[in-house]
Amino acid sequence: MRAGTIYLLIALVLMAISSLKDRQKTKEAVKATFKIFYVVMPVLIFVFVLMGLIQAYVSREIIVSILGQKSGLLGILYAEIIGSVALFLPPAVFPFGGYLHDNGASYGAIAGFVFTAILIGVTTLPLELKLFGKRFTLARNLLTFGLTFVIAIIMERILS
């Protein structure tokens, strides 16, 4: 059986349990589910187009030379910069990361990309500044970038 089918079955069982416990809440959950799907799917399709563009125009050799194992620390750094400026919703990060990995990017580079894409966002900076101030925002984003670098190096060692 496909993994997706299994997840879908688990999700439906949880939904059924939820509706037995509280019908009103489950209705809200169904609504939320539709809303999430509606927000996420178009972004995903856009990311799939990006993947298609890379497939069509960027050769595997280029990806390997920028983000591959031999690119070492610099590759991780590039991946982190890409992740920091990428305007991705979290669900789009993994398909894109997986796609880069299939095309020669190292696990370390992917880890750098995934962490920064989720935790650092150019689009969320204004909100973070407004809610938490300059010092917090600057320190959090810089520390996230730095710690991600260390973790990405270790993950590269462990996984490959």
Partner: protein
């Protein structure tokens, strides 16, 4: 019409179609590659995305933000810190949805280290595990989530240290003013 133009979903789809058509117009073979990639990946992930949306939808309804604030606001100390570094891994959403929640935590007196730990742990993204394992494999996904916990702990310590420094500088400054 105005409503449609303000709709992000519409724009993402619109731009996607335009890019594909332009590429197809410039070079039929390359356009076909783009279209094929989109088509194949779409059907590869459709069931997973539906399942993930259901997981996040259920979580949102059954675990209200107020509950989270209460849960995390209660235990400062070690227990609260451990919670802050692990519990957010289960949550969905984007930074846009969790920042307001964290503002509430801060107003309840949470330390900035706890806030930073929360954000980092939230990056664990357990609801997206089906997607992550599908594209990057279980070893990557599990190792990454393990590191998220360590990441969140270290982040908390470092941010508290940064925060303490600020407090100290402020103290010194106010001392100068008093003089």
């Amino acid at each position: 019409m105005k409503k449609i133009l303000k709709n992000d979903a519409f724009w993402f789809l619109f731009i996607s179609v335009v890019i594909t058509l332009v590429v197809y117009g410039l070079n039929t073979a390359k356009g076909a590659i783009v279209a094929k990639t989109v088509y194949a990946t779409f059907f590869e992930v459709l069931d997973i995305i539906v399942a993930v949306s259901i997981f996040i939808g259920l979580f949102q309804v059954w675990v209200k933000p107020q509950t989270i604030v209460k849960l995390l606001g209660k235990g400062s100390g070690l227990k609260g810190f451990v919670l802050v570094c692990t519990f957010p891994i289960l949550m969905g959403g984007s930074l846009f949805t969790i920042f307001p929640l964290l503002k509430a935590l801060k107003e309840k007196g949470a330390r900035i280290g706890a806030i930073a730990s929360f954000i980092t742990a939230w990056g664990g993204k357990a609801p997206l595990l089906p997607l992550e394992s599908k594209f990057l494999g279980w070893p990557f996904a599990l190792v990454r989530i393990g590191f998220v916990i360590i990441f969140a702990f270290v982040m908390g310590f470092l941010m508290d240290w940064v925060g303490d420094k600020t407090a100290q500088i402020k103290k010194e400054k106010s001392f100068l003013v008093e003089l």
